[in-house]
């Protein structure tokens, strides 16, 4: 007879029941082989024993036989649906697969059959935190505290759970109860110190400043809070919020501790009723006096000197900026210009700086090529030229900048900064090939410096030289990595991934571009997963303040520019793919350039090498591979499979989803959301996206294109509507099927707010053009719209060529976009435009005839002899 409450199918005879305990024991000790053997012994007699099947599956998973393991676990659960062991194992496996939602469901099942199991409860709490299910988290933490009130961490965990739910009052109550019962706190207890600081933070967030201050002072005095600087920071902040006269003294103490911290000066000044971000004329003299006093007190600190430059005006500014510039030029501070750039918002300060530095240069100038006279410090001379080059380039005077740099390089040909900046100026002038060449020269001057190396790689990518970029990156990546690119991806280098993706896109390789953009998405997914371990760890270590900071960072993770850029760019590729599915099949070898084919071959070779090495590795069956799947080998080295994967629009929608809350003020994001929503026939979402874009910038050219697109797709007038289901927006698509009635209602309610109902789209377009006829991007947008409305190609071409008119503002970026548009509509006038644009941007190379590009690319790699000699000197 099995013991009461145990279903007969689970009960085992004494011998097997002993064996099962052994299985559990072996698993805990990670003696996987023995565990497997013992489980098999049970299953031989009882092949349908659910718990044993699950344990065997778990062990196999740890041994790397993941699919087989998962299958057994699923079987085991089916055989014994009321066993907490089966559900717990299933939950563990799902957690290992990062499938947190399903894992939590399994844990919830497990708790139904063993409600006070501490391990399961703790794991469930971590899953609830990961999934931000804070109500459920409070419940779980409550149960854990009830079961083990003697554990410090259970109290703190409950308080944190309340805090996360936004229930600060409860959070405070739990901390008070905890502090009342806690006994025998040893001296110098870092954990207790952190808990008390957390308590004070809770009070501060509750705006109970007096209470917070009292608690802080008590525990500072009793030395229960250890970190003296933390005490000072909390004190200064709280006193400021209380508007106490003591605040000033507290900030002063912090400045003495770290005179390079901007926040402390800001705090000090605010205690004197001065807002550093909004200094008015009547408080200016007082503010300046305070800063000058700090300069006297901390002559080595840069912060008060620099702040004085922000605060001062007129003659006083000139008096202060002269020594500031001079000392730093003498020292050769490369970041001096970046440091001062923010002051350029004031034309008066900008001009003052220019005249001071030019005056300084005049005292240093000497005959070019002649040796520097002994009265002149050559370092000051070089750094002054360098500063002025940055100054003039920043103001758009690139020719002047180049002239200054050439003088400097002729004088001192060994300073990499000069070459790097020369490259940057060329980049700004639209010459990515020359830019890459100059930055490469900078790199060759100091081959040990990874910073110069990374710049060189980036500039090669900007010039479309992908293989050559990866080659140069490879000088610093790990030698045992599959490839330099793989190492950079593994090390989560967003800078590299973004630049390579963009380069692939510019080179027309959509498959590889998509692959790299999605690699960025994967990096962010990993960042999100990374927090999981800390839901337990931080509570055990009591580092609560930084942990809450971590959760907040995670919640806003995808507002990072790299994610936003990658999501938008990838969604554009996916939308293109939806509009023209032939793109996916065209991404075969025949369309690849020579370099791309070479890259593909290389990738295949690398792949083979990895597989061979994997075979060589000794296969110990007892080796614990953990529950998390290791990175699968790259089955899609050239991205073709990604391009051919189904449902491009659904994938795009998923990528863009986080942007709707985290990149609300980015108009490109809303345009991308619209492009996907309208094709998924999510009309309401499409209209909302247009509204957001409209609120951000009503006259945006990209928005203009979408407004017309929307009306054409949804207008009540069937003559204007394109086929909603063919999803082509080109002219001449068949006109049929109206959108759904309810959709029509929504649309007709919203549309008039965005564009006038009674006007024809052609008229609306010309109105837009007229209004913005001097803006290059608007001229292009209007041409795109008239192309979509079916205007003859010649007319569209003529319209777009207007960007070259003297009265139209045109930057290189827009000119490149115009060229891309002409290429897209297969205009015979593309080369004509390129040649005209090449004349307009005289120092650019992006508009040279296509035939000349290979030669240009080669030139980007050809480094003149000067630097090659240098290389020899260094090595």
């Amino acid at each position: 007879m099995p013991p009461a409450g145990i279903p007969p199918s689970r009960a085992l005879p004494l011998k097997e029941s002993g064996l099962f305990k052994e299985v559990l024991h072996y698993y805990e000790d990670r003696q996987l082989k023995k565990g497997l053997k013992t489980a098999d012994a049970i299953l031989k007699k009882f092949p349908k024993h659910g718990e044993t099947l699950c344990m065997k599956g778990l062990i196999l998973t740890h041994m790397g036989r993941r699919e087989e393991g998962l299958e057994l676990v699923k079987q085991g659960v089916r055989f014994d649906l009321t066993s907490h062991i089966c559900w717990h194992v299933f939950g563990l496996i799902q957690k290992g697969q990062k499938n947190y939602e399903e894992a939590l469901k399994s844990y919830t099942q497990a708790l139904r059959f063993d409600k006070d199991n501490m391990n399961i409860l703790r794991d469930a709490a971590h899953l609830q935190t990961q999934l931000r299910l804070y109500d459920a988290l409070v419940e779980t933490r409550h149960t854990l505290l009830r079961l083990r009130p003697q554990l410090r961490q259970n109290w703190i965990a409950l308080s944190v759970a309340y805090h996360l739910r936004g229930d600060l009052a409860e959070s405070k109550k739990v901390l008070e109860q905890f502090e009342n019962i806690v006994k025998n706190v040893p001296d110098y207890d870092v954990e207790m110190s952190e808990i008390l600081l957390y308590h004070i933070r809770v009070l501060e967030e509750l705006s109970e400043y007096t209470e917070a201050l009292a608690l802080l002072d008590t525990h500072a005095k009793s030395r229960m809070i250890i970190d003296r600087v933390a005490i000072m920071e909390y004190r200064a902040r709280i006193l400021s919020k209380l508007q106490s006269p003591e605040a000033q003294q507290a900030w002063q103490g912090l400045i003495e501790q770290n005179p390079d911290c901007y926040d402390y000066y800001k705090g000090f000044l605010s205690s004197r009723a001065i807002d550093l971000d909004a200094v008015t004329d009547d408080i200016r003299p007082g503010a300046l006096q305070i800063l000058q006093d700090f300069v006297q007190q901390f002559p080595r600190a840069a912060a008060p000197q620099r702040l004085a430059l922000s605060v001062s005006t007129g003659e006083q500014f000139k008096e202060l900026v002269e020594p500031y510039l001079r000392t730093r030029l003498q020292k050769g501070v490369p970041s001096l210009f970046t440091d001062l750039k923010a002051l350029y918002r004031s034309p008066e300060k900008r001009d003052a700086i220019e005249s001071v530095v030019h005056a300084l240069l005049d005292t240093l100038a000497h005959a070019p090529d002649a040796p520097c006279p002994s009265s002149i410090d050559p370092t000051v001379y070089i750094w002054t030229l360098y500063f002025l080059a940055q100054h003039h380039s920043h103001l758009g005077r690139h020719a002047k900048a180049l002239e200054l740099l050439d003088t400097a390089i002729a004088h001192t040909p060994t300073l990499p900064e000069l070459y790097m900046f020369r490259g940057r100026v060329l980049k700004r002038l639209g010459d990515p090939y020359g830019a890459a060449r100059w930055v490469d020269q900078a790199r060759l001057l100091d081959l040990q410096d990874r910073f110069l190396n990374a710049r060189c790689g980036k500039y090669r990518l900007r010039a479309g030289l992908i293989d050559e970029a990866v080659e140069v990156f490879g000088l610093f990546t790990k030698k045992d990595a599959v490839s330099p690119a793989q190492d950079l991806e593994d090390m989560q280098s967003l800078l590299y991934l973004i630049e390579e993706a963009d380069a692939q896109l510019r080179n027309g390789n959509h498959a590889m571009a998509l692959k790299k953009y999605l690699a960025i998405q994967k990096v962010f997914d990993d960042f999100e997963d990374d927090q999981f371990d800390f839901h337990g760890y931080s509570v055990r270590k009591f580092t609560i303040n930084i942990y809450l900071n971590l959760l907040k960072w995670e919640d806003n993770l995808r507002s990072h520019p790299a994610y936003v850029h990658a999501a938008i760019a990838a969604s554009r590729i996916l939308v293109k793919l939806h509009d023209d599915p032939s793109m996916a099949s065209a991404a075969s070898d025949s369309h690849l350039s020579g370099a791309e084919k070479k890259a593909k071959k290389k990738a295949k070779k690398a792949e083979k090498k990895v597989q061979e090495e994997a075979k060589k590795a000794p296969s110990s069956t007892n080796e614990d591979k953990g529950l998390e799947a290791t990175a699968p080998k790259d089955e899609d080295p050239d991205g073709t499979k990604l391009l051919q994967a189904p449902e491009p629009l659904e994938r795009a929608a998923k990528l863009l989803k986080p942007l709707q809350t985290l990149a609300k003020s980015n108009i490109e994001a809303w345009v991308a959301v619209y492009d996907v929503a309208i094709r998924r026939k999510k009309y309401l979402q499409a209209v909302q996206a247009l509204h957001h874009a409209h609120a951000l910038q009503a006259d945006s050219p990209e928005l203009h294109v979408r407004l017309v697109d929307f009306k054409r797709r949804c207008a009540p007038n069937p003559a204007l509507r394109v086929n909603m289901f063919s999803d082509t927006i080109g002219p001449g698509s068949s006109l049929s099927e109206k959108p759904d009635e309810s959709v029509a209602t929504v649309v007709s309610a919203f549309l008039p707010k965005l564009l006038p109902d009674e006007m024809s789209l052609e008229a609306y377009n010309s109105q837009f053009l007229q209004k913005h006829s001097t803006r290059g991007d608007a001229v292009l947008a209007a041409a795109k719209v008239s192309q979509a409305l079916g205007a003859p190609r010649e007319e569209v071409e003529a319209a777009v060529f207007n960007v070259l008119n003297a009265d139209v503002e045109l930057d290189i970026e827009t000119a490149v976009a115009v060229d891309a548009f002409l290429s897209e509509i297969r205009s015979p006038r593309e080369e004509e435009f390129r040649s005209a644009a090449g004349e307009r941007f005289a120092l650019s190379t992006v508009f040279v005839p296509h035939a000349k590009l290979p030669e240009l690319r080669k030139s980007a790699l050809h480094v003149p002899n000067v630097a090659e000699e240098k290389e020899e000197v260094i090595s």
Partner: protein, 157 residues
């Protein structure tokens, strides 16, 4: 204007990016998170307009035996080339060392450096006043030896 302050969780991505531009020893985010969340008081950043231009990432050594005093360990320190000559490495180190001594009562701080990295060696020895304490054979993944460098924290507070 470069600002020096204690590192926060939302600095880690920028610290990682800074590290990748400067040094050949790189780490995934998990490592950064682990170090910062174990000892959040001892890592610092130098930032300008929200961009991290230098950082020091520090952990406390956990293999300290009974009776021994705690030791700090510099996992990584670097400053972007374009922000040199502002004394940032030194300023970061000073703040971090004080925090190690203040919060954890650390008696000394250690770091590893590649034997071949003469530039870094110079920085640690001449500017930051570390001494070569020991050599660790094959410390780096590629088999290179490391110098173990050490600096006493007596008197920093």
């Amino acid at each position: 204007m470069v600002n020096i302050r204690v590192a926060r969780a939302d600095d880690l991505q920028a610290m990682q990016a800074c590290n990748l531009q400067n040094l050949p020893e790189n780490y995934t985010m998990r490592y950064y998170l682990f170090y910062l969340l174990s000892c959040p008081q001892v890592s610092y950043v130098a930032e300008e307009d929200g961009k991290v231009v230098g950082y020091i990432l520090v952990r406390m050594e956990d293999d300290v035996r009974e009776g021994e005093e705690p030791r700090g360990h510099v996992v990584s320190i670097s400053v972007l080339r374009s922000y040199r000559r502002l004394g940032l490495a030194k300023r970061l180190m000073v703040q971090s060392q004080e925090a190690m001594a203040r919060v954890y009562r650390a008696s000394c701080v250690m770091l590893h450096v590649r034997k071949s990295n003469r530039a870094a060696l110079g920085l640690y020895r001449d500017t930051l006043k570390f001494n070569v304490h020991d050599t660790e054979k094959g410390y780096y993944a590629d088999g290179e030896d490391a110098y173990v460098m050490r600096r006493s924290l007596r008197g920093v507070l």
